[in-house]
Symmetry: D4
Subunit: 254 residues, 8 copies
Amino acid sequence: MLDEVEITKLIVENYMKDLMEYADLDVAIVGAGPSGLTAAYYLATAKKKVAIFDRRLSIGGGMWGGGMMFNKIVVQEDAKHILDDFSINYERFGDYYVADSVHSVTSLAYHATKEGAKIFNLIGAEDVIIKNNRVSGLVINWSVIGELPIDPLSIYAKYVIDATGHESEVIKTLVRKNNIKLNTPTGSIEGEHSMDADTAESVIVDNVKEVYPGIFVTGMAANAVFGSPRMGPIFGGMLLSGKKVADEIIRRLS
Amino acid sequence: MLDEVEITKLIVENYMKDLMEYADLDVAIVGAGPSGLTAAYYLATAKKKVAIFDRRLSIGGGMWGGGMMFNKIVVQEDAKHILDDFSINYERFGDYYVADSVHSVTSLAYHATKEGAKIFNLIGAEDVIIKNNRVSGLVINWSVIGELPIDPLSIYAKYVIDATGHESEVIKTLVRKNNIKLNTPTGSIEGEHSMDADTAESVIVDNVKEVYPGIFVTGMAANAVFGSPRMGPIFGGMLLSGKKVADEIIRRLS
Amino acid sequence: MLDEVEITKLIVENYMKDLMEYADLDVAIVGAGPSGLTAAYYLATAKKKVAIFDRRLSIGGGMWGGGMMFNKIVVQEDAKHILDDFSINYERFGDYYVADSVHSVTSLAYHATKEGAKIFNLIGAEDVIIKNNRVSGLVINWSVIGELPIDPLSIYAKYVIDATGHESEVIKTLVRKNNIKLNTPTGSIEGEHSMDADTAESVIVDNVKEVYPGIFVTGMAANAVFGSPRMGPIFGGMLLSGKKVADEIIRRLS
Amino acid sequence: MLDEVEITKLIVENYMKDLMEYADLDVAIVGAGPSGLTAAYYLATAKKKVAIFDRRLSIGGGMWGGGMMFNKIVVQEDAKHILDDFSINYERFGDYYVADSVHSVTSLAYHATKEGAKIFNLIGAEDVIIKNNRVSGLVINWSVIGELPIDPLSIYAKYVIDATGHESEVIKTLVRKNNIKLNTPTGSIEGEHSMDADTAESVIVDNVKEVYPGIFVTGMAANAVFGSPRMGPIFGGMLLSGKKVADEIIRRLS
Amino acid sequence: MLDEVEITKLIVENYMKDLMEYADLDVAIVGAGPSGLTAAYYLATAKKKVAIFDRRLSIGGGMWGGGMMFNKIVVQEDAKHILDDFSINYERFGDYYVADSVHSVTSLAYHATKEGAKIFNLIGAEDVIIKNNRVSGLVINWSVIGELPIDPLSIYAKYVIDATGHESEVIKTLVRKNNIKLNTPTGSIEGEHSMDADTAESVIVDNVKEVYPGIFVTGMAANAVFGSPRMGPIFGGMLLSGKKVADEIIRRLS
Amino acid sequence: MLDEVEITKLIVENYMKDLMEYADLDVAIVGAGPSGLTAAYYLATAKKKVAIFDRRLSIGGGMWGGGMMFNKIVVQEDAKHILDDFSINYERFGDYYVADSVHSVTSLAYHATKEGAKIFNLIGAEDVIIKNNRVSGLVINWSVIGELPIDPLSIYAKYVIDATGHESEVIKTLVRKNNIKLNTPTGSIEGEHSMDADTAESVIVDNVKEVYPGIFVTGMAANAVFGSPRMGPIFGGMLLSGKKVADEIIRRLS
Amino acid sequence: MLDEVEITKLIVENYMKDLMEYADLDVAIVGAGPSGLTAAYYLATAKKKVAIFDRRLSIGGGMWGGGMMFNKIVVQEDAKHILDDFSINYERFGDYYVADSVHSVTSLAYHATKEGAKIFNLIGAEDVIIKNNRVSGLVINWSVIGELPIDPLSIYAKYVIDATGHESEVIKTLVRKNNIKLNTPTGSIEGEHSMDADTAESVIVDNVKEVYPGIFVTGMAANAVFGSPRMGPIFGGMLLSGKKVADEIIRRLS
Amino acid sequence: MLDEVEITKLIVENYMKDLMEYADLDVAIVGAGPSGLTAAYYLATAKKKVAIFDRRLSIGGGMWGGGMMFNKIVVQEDAKHILDDFSINYERFGDYYVADSVHSVTSLAYHATKEGAKIFNLIGAEDVIIKNNRVSGLVINWSVIGELPIDPLSIYAKYVIDATGHESEVIKTLVRKNNIKLNTPTGSIEGEHSMDADTAESVIVDNVKEVYPGIFVTGMAANAVFGSPRMGPIFGGMLLSGKKVADEIIRRLS
């Protein structure tokens, strides 16, 4: 006999166990797009306690729709090994690899969670916690509350990653609310420039940096913060920057 | 050197290749929720040409949010083998298995597409094609057009599956627009009854039927069409009905 | 030193403890307006396990705004003892007692919760559970999810009270989804008639009944279901019907 | 016999009596959240003529939803005596006290109004009155008018308290419309910094000040105006700052 | 010296005096369009206590915009004397008289109020009061409250006039909520037919009737309730029906 | 020297001249989609006084977007001569002709207006005029007024054509507001059936009929009114039915 | 026999005659609130060709709702003669005169139009015409077009009056789009200060000035442009400033 | 027999062929208003590969509605030859030519596409591509995606024309995202001034310039970027500037 209340309790208790366990993290990632998911996968593989917070019900960011709703993605040669790490089906066209975007994004999320990364969907980061001039955690809230006056909660993290795309939302909040300088040429958010795919892909991995003590940028947020060009309709740099930020933080946590 | 236009062309051409290839299907599934994805997986494994059409950008239906946004799902013993088929991580609590909902839904979608099922996201089914008193295909359109007067296109399918949940949208359109009788006790849509998890799970697999020549129902749509109770916060029946509809159609296509 | 994560955990754990504890209730009330709050107070005073579910963030129903935003309420002589039970300030004008509406509604909620009634705000009842032709619980969900496809959870209750006002939402769902007959003259929802304060106040307490096994109506829902007139801008009947439904259920639970 | 028009008149007349009486106040508080309600309680206890104006139908601000809709609040040791003043039920966990948020907020409002504070819900403060370089009252209007061009009315007050939370709406309007300097380090609104609960709680009571002749800030508005950090999910400072602003104004009015 | 609070009090007190005075009326008119305003004028001239309730801030109904925003109106010969009663400027073209619509509608409202009719703008009629099978008053509320749960107030009237145009809102509510028969051929609302100006103008004055004890219809509501054709872009019948309903009620009140 | 007011006057006067001239028509077409435009072209070529009324700013109906925003249209062999009449560029694929949809729709509108048909954009038909049991004209209004209470104007026409697509808006209004029987099998609107392109194209020209004295249907409205299947993504039948209705009316007007 | 099309033509032709006649004005007033209507009345009385343009369907600005929807207005002694000029009913309270707001605003509009002022409702001023560094007319458009890309028309005027209230919309557009200096202390718009009724009323008439060649400000726009305080809930200054601007322009036009 | 899927394939394949072919252009025009369409026509006539991208379903910009929805346009003598090039019907009034606006805009689009220009409707330009300090293409996306996170695609063009009207959207994006100087007096966008039709028409053709390497402005965008006055309700300058930009680019491409 199925008991509805027993099932209800199992759901609530197991979620709460996760929420309690992940309230004090090695790494908190904001944004479950391709770069954030890739970072989560490699961090989880290295046995770090990592969680992603994403405002949407269904994570994945801008990867679902391919280019202009044509749900295919393209990856260049030097990121092909990441497709292999995630067992993604692809077809080769010269130096480019074409994959299905729904297949690719679900593979990233499936493998990241398979390895132990936790994804909190429907939860956004309203703000950060700053202790002694270092980002030390996130102020989180359900995204569905809209304009309702509902207070947030907080979680701690040794490192925070802003993987919110070209909006770079976490960094924007950090800069807007505090008198601080980022680790960028001008100390501010430089802003994304117009598209130049070749330049953009060549600098994105370099732009993956700790822009203020305790917080890194990755993916499109990295180029936006450092004033590099917008990326073209190609995903290699996104994936590589996700792996780069994971490697960098794994190194520091050791 | 990355060439933006070359990348653009690869995306467009490969999407169009898919669209052309999947315009004449063995099975067209409407709705990429848990039941539709499960069906697609087993159909693809059996080498059937199968595609899912889903109005949302990010498929998965109601599975992302677990129960009340607590992102866990529960599956009972008799559906546990499906969790294993999809390599989903779970924890056992007596006769129940608890899994992470984001992990589970991305696993369903990843493995279905890995096996060759094609998912067309952002595309809904406006209507069906009826030839000689048999559903013979779908009238499809981009969901993002909203109220804009944009005409649809059409695809053929040997079988259509309505996996749109308790709205049973395809069946509703079929009944509303044509003078037909369904293969239900009254010939009409019976409507979902209030919750009774035990009864609901016990009948859902039986309700998976060809309700009109060429079209099956599965998942919550099955119980809604046959006037069975609403299901509780448990996913076994959803997954089993997905497998059932696949098995049934595979048998007929042989 | 204040520890943000410690505080976060206290909030989450204590809420979850409540949610677990109140998943199996003596009485589940839907709607935290004047009638529902009054019922909850008297049930809690009698040591029944009672919880109210209300879709709004800030419970109280239509009592905050008095009449036409003029935040005063009027109570007639025969309900005056309820004002006294709740220590509400009032001024007497002949047979009428005038009180501040904000003061009154917060008194109802304060005293009900003081006595141990639990209020779950932001949670609505999507549906009921029916076992063996008896309402046995509620299907609940966050109200803030709007159109997002998020599944509900369920709780059990020995008795459910529909205190949702003249919409009588729970009864409407019960009738719409199941082939059942209510304990009313026609077996259906009769619908509220136009205003006639005198008649309305005289019948409301009589209308407080178990309209289907396991579910009672109270307050405006009672008059709406039994086809009585709309009440005038006076609250005595609302409060008295809340006490009546509590008394009736206490008697049955004994 | 109940007479609908008699009841109507009692409501209208008693509301108007209040509106006339409270048009010339000792203290006008804008915002009926935890800090404003606490201030109103202690001011009313000291027999000051005090009214709160709040845009919402159902006052209480951000206190209803606890943290992230989990409706519990936490208060630290040094504010515990305020819980006792309001007869709020709580449970102790080390140095923290956990209470139900619905119970707590209705207790604040109930006891404040019990002592004689008047709450005008659905009414917001569009602007202030300035006479001889001193804030001398409020320009008030119904909040429900939306974009309709409806003129406001005005009330006088010896002191105004901005208790509108981190938006500090009254101070913002004061600064935006007049060439004045606030009593802050820079003379302007400093803006809330990111979260640091420990620092925030330690400075909030100090930040309760008369920032311009005739107007005080309290609660989150105090930290926002003085550039202190955002508070964590804990309510001690909110309550203490409400008591502080009351004590300070009582002293001046003597 | 101007005293803001003194002015505030004068506004509030004088409005309340009106509201009290007009809570018990000879005639309550719902809808301040051309027909309702005309009726109010002639009723006030005959010294009847009459008030109009209109949901909009700025009354006048559909008369402001002339035809298709070309702000002119046309009146035929047999209604010309009403233009004269209201001192409206016009120009003659054969049997037709053309006037400015803004000029005309403000003249109707100005002269009606000059004669003592009271207009309550922003207030709609939610329902009627029925005592002993006779409409005995209105249940009124601010229109600006939108979806907020705010209770109404009530007023008494010897006669109610539905002048809400082709929606005939009051009659619709009356019929929907009560099991009654109207004084029409079928006992129900017949519904407006397509346009036929000649027929419509010839029957509208006949359709001005007491359709249920205590309530009359006038203007477009009269034709809608009696199933007559829609009127053309001409206002004679509107004005004449307003005068007719006034004359009829004056006769009965004598 | 350019004189702004002189230009203003030329625009207003010439528009008004058209509006006066076309207030009494041979044929009034509602809906400027492909079928309505085709009809207008052939009627204008035959020197009939014809005007189209369309609610949108930019006429053309559903033809702009091709199929699913892929802006191409397909026409079958038997309608190819209409492409030629309109000098539309196309490419041949077997029995099908493919043309650009933007090119095609602008050609229809350009040539129809070149021949003297007048298009009133932004104007919809709210209702019809009925005199002696015959549709004798339209009740028209600006579509941009939304919910504003603005009265319509009227125009006469010897024949009205409903070319509003599968909504068949004019016929719907005609049936809803009047007790009449259409010239269809059941006397009512039959409703569009699901797609069957072959059947749909074969019956559409037959369905072009005078369904009630004075009013014809064409295009998708014809199939919707007669209960025929939905048309596939092909335009031959649309164009042919437009020509058919023109021919039929020209014959009757002679 | 009534002829719908004849009536249609009378409406269109007479409106167009007005539009042509008033395309070249002595005075164009933007905003038909109390100040603009008063100005129009005195200008028309002096036989000037004057028109008001107002975005709303029903003109009158913020005067309909009295204070906070209590539909009464107050006028002080020195403006009492204007009430008399408009034959407005009032009651005296010391130095204040209280009138009904609906009665007052319709009187202003009725008498202004009676004297020959033309009101174009539903038409706003998008921009001004500037010739040789002088405002020479208005760029006007229907307000109902919303976001639709529809071009405006233009009219000439010897003088323009910005009577748009504290938004001072025309002056804002003038300053934003051109490099000009206003005739104010700083050459810019100073902005309205917080309320001080006494000061506001004493300066408003002085603030009525030609702020740039060809354009005057009046009413609340005058105080907003000159940085004076917001007015209290009293209308004397509004009416007097309307008369002042009329007198000033009449003098110049002589 | 009509085959729905065959027709579907023809539409998709032919659209894709266009999209592939026009991904590398001589000239990319953003905005299909009168100036952009005119430019496209003359470029296509000169055998350049040219495409227009427009966010709307139905292109034509602000030309459909004439002036204030009165659908006529006026053209002055010196642009009359362009009306002739497009075979547009007109009537002469002194130095002005009046044409129907629907006829005119469809003629521009029809003839431009007839000559081989491709119009991509429903597609907007999100950004530009910049290579070596030269605009080298566009970043394009479907306009219907609204807020959905869907990535764009890119196309190359030897020259880009901003024909987006007075918003000059492409230039605004170019300036906002990159640190560049335009070829204008100040190096920035100067902004449109108030209306002065005579001046505006005399400078618009001069303002047609390459404002940054690879990108031209035309139509209202030209005057907006160069700080010239707004144009009056006349279209000559629009058409002439479209021809000018075509001539200029043809010269450079040779």
